[in-house]
Amino acid sequence: MTGRLKYVLAAAILLAAVDVSQAQQKLVVSIWGGNWRDGAKEAIATEFTKRTKIPVEFITGGTMDRLTKAKMAGARPESDVTLTTSHVAYLYVADKLFQQLDTAKIPNLKQAYPEAVRSPYHIGLYSYVFTPAFRTDLMPKDFKIESWKDLWGAPVKGKLGLPDFDPSHIIVVSALLSGGDAQNWKVGIPMLEKLKPSIKAFYQSDATSQELIKTGETPVQVILSINAYHQMSQGIPLKVVVPKEGGVVGIDAIGINAGSKMTDAAHEFINVALDPKVQEKLCDIYKCSPMSSAAHVSPQLAALPGIVTSAEQLKHQILIPDEVRAKLLPEWKVWFTEHMTR
């Protein structure tokens, strides 16, 4: 081997070693793509890197794709931290894909609402509601929604859009209106069947929900409030309403993947995410409700329907326990597909 070749090889090995050490020093966060990633990057990752000097790399995908990948990866996870919906996080926990959190390393958790602690393994970061919204330009001038029952009214006939990937919201609302609850959901079946004439189409994702609103195909929708506010910011005349019974709360949660080698950094990432200032910024971007009681959102944001700024307000919304939702969703889906979609 010539002397020059030796030097080239040594340099290559050195570069590879530096690359590996840098790769080990970054925190990998699993999240949804688009606005979700951009918001988390701007609000949480920037502050985290500023404090720790550790860069953050996001890997994105749908809720189910990421869950399946995590299951396949097992003890060698692709990411250190995962953000997902709270009831799906329950499945991560049930399958030991999340590790138990050391709350001593998350001091900002002390300022969070009790609802933020979803389990010893995952923490709620922010909340939103699934609630009715309608296109003001496509519905009669005097049309209004005060109660969930208004979705059963004549003006909504053939105009309603519902999610079919997760019918839990309308199922639980129907159960509540019929005197039941999530566990005792079957009491709401007669009401659900009476809702069929109102339904125009079902949506399968955030993208199709927005498309149905944008094109006016479903001028009334049970919609994720964050998506509704995003569309309003793009000039679509949409009105979000939280009925007197409350909106169905959704909580997006965070957990540390079992097998992560960046446990301390991951705890710090969660701590940063719960920092009141970071929570304010995150909620301003997403138009959601903070989980930190110390976070003060702007008056404009606080005035939006579905934005919760106190533990008391959160109690007035409809909250489905994660375990109940995760366990009953398959049963709900079978019933919903059989009786509502056809």
């Binding site: 189910m64 990937f165 125009k200 189409a201 079902f202 995760a326 889906k333 979609t341 056809r342």
Partner: protein, 284 residues
């Protein structure tokens, strides 16, 4: 390297791909007979519950819908693609051939989602067709194209046409023109030449195209998902809806298995017809 060694070198990748395919199918097969544990990603012990569950009317209806939509798509695709493929092969004008190639083949490069979204803009309540019909006063209220079998078939036909055109153009290109000239010289009018000579001679392409589009459509997902809006379901949508998005992987596996059997079964069922047609063509 001997000829035998080259042969082995080529066969090894095929065997590996086939083995991977068979292993994954076996994986789906064994998973379809496992018990679903609510609230867990892990499957339980072996059970026949998922198999018995397939007797529910919803599953049978969706399988029948899938077969019907696939059949209609294949038939309409054939009817619409044949003239295009014929013109593509037989035209003497270079500019027309180029135009047809561009119009017929470019959609292949745009992807299923883009083309389906385009159809949503055309078929929607406020879409192109309804707006046009409303503006010229032919209708008072928008017609319902979206969330119907009709809308799904229209979008699937458009999606499948490039493949059908390629297959038909190949078949038409292989027709011996002397046979057509002989028929014409013996006094057959042009339409008769087309029906009694050209079409039978292109039967291999017609059969191949129809079978390919039928089988292809059986696994359609994005188009029925977006155009069907949850109201028109095909098997793939049901697998996603009932199985994957509700974490019931054993049910998803059983539905996939049923879809696989339905596809193989329906292709097997049309095999005698295909064989008869091929025999007739060979005799002619």
């Amino acid at each position: 390297m001997t000829k035998r060694q080259i042969w082995w070198l080529l066969i090894i990748p095929c065997v590996l791909v086939a083995a991977a395919m068979i292993a994954s199918l076996l994986g789906v097969f064994q998973f379809s007979f496992r018990r679903f544990i609510p609230g867990s990603l892990s499957a339980g012990g072996f059970t026949l519950d998922n198999f018995y569950g397939m007797a529910r009317p919803i599953y049978l209806l969706v399988i029948l819908d899938t077969l019907l939509i696939s059949f209609l798509t294949a038939v309409f695709c054939l009817i619409l693609s044949y003239p295009v493929a014929y013109a593509l092969v037989r035209t003497t004008k270079e500019w027309l051939r180029t135009l047809l190639v561009i119009l017929a083949i470019t959609p292949l490069f745009t992807g299923e989602i883009v083309r389906t979204y385009a159809w949503m803009l055309v078929l929607g309540t406020q879409g192109f067709i309804n707006s046009a019909l409303l503006s010229i006063g032919l209708i008072d209220t928008p017609l319902q194209f979206m969330y119907t079998r009709f809308g799904v078939v229209v979008a699937l036909v458009h999606f499948s046409m490039p493949v059908m055109i390629i297959l038909l153009a190949t078949a038409i290109g292989h027709v011996n023109r002397d046979c057509e000239k002989a028929a014409a010289n013996l006094g057959a009018p042009p339409l008769s030449v087309f029906w009694r000579v050209t079409v039978p001679l292109t039967m291999p392409g017609i059969i191949a195209g129809t079978v390919v589009i039928f089988a292809w459509t059986m696994s359609a997902f994005a188009t029925p998902q977006l155009i069907g809006g949850g109201k028109v379901l095909m098997i793939s949508n049901l697998v996603y809806l009932q199985g994957l998005s509700s974490f019931n992987f054993p049910l998803a596996a059983m539905l996939s298995l049923i879809a696989f059997i339905a596809a193989i079964g329906s292709l097997g069922a049309i095999q005698p017809i295909v064989a008869r047609l091929e025999r007739r063509v060979a005799l002619q």
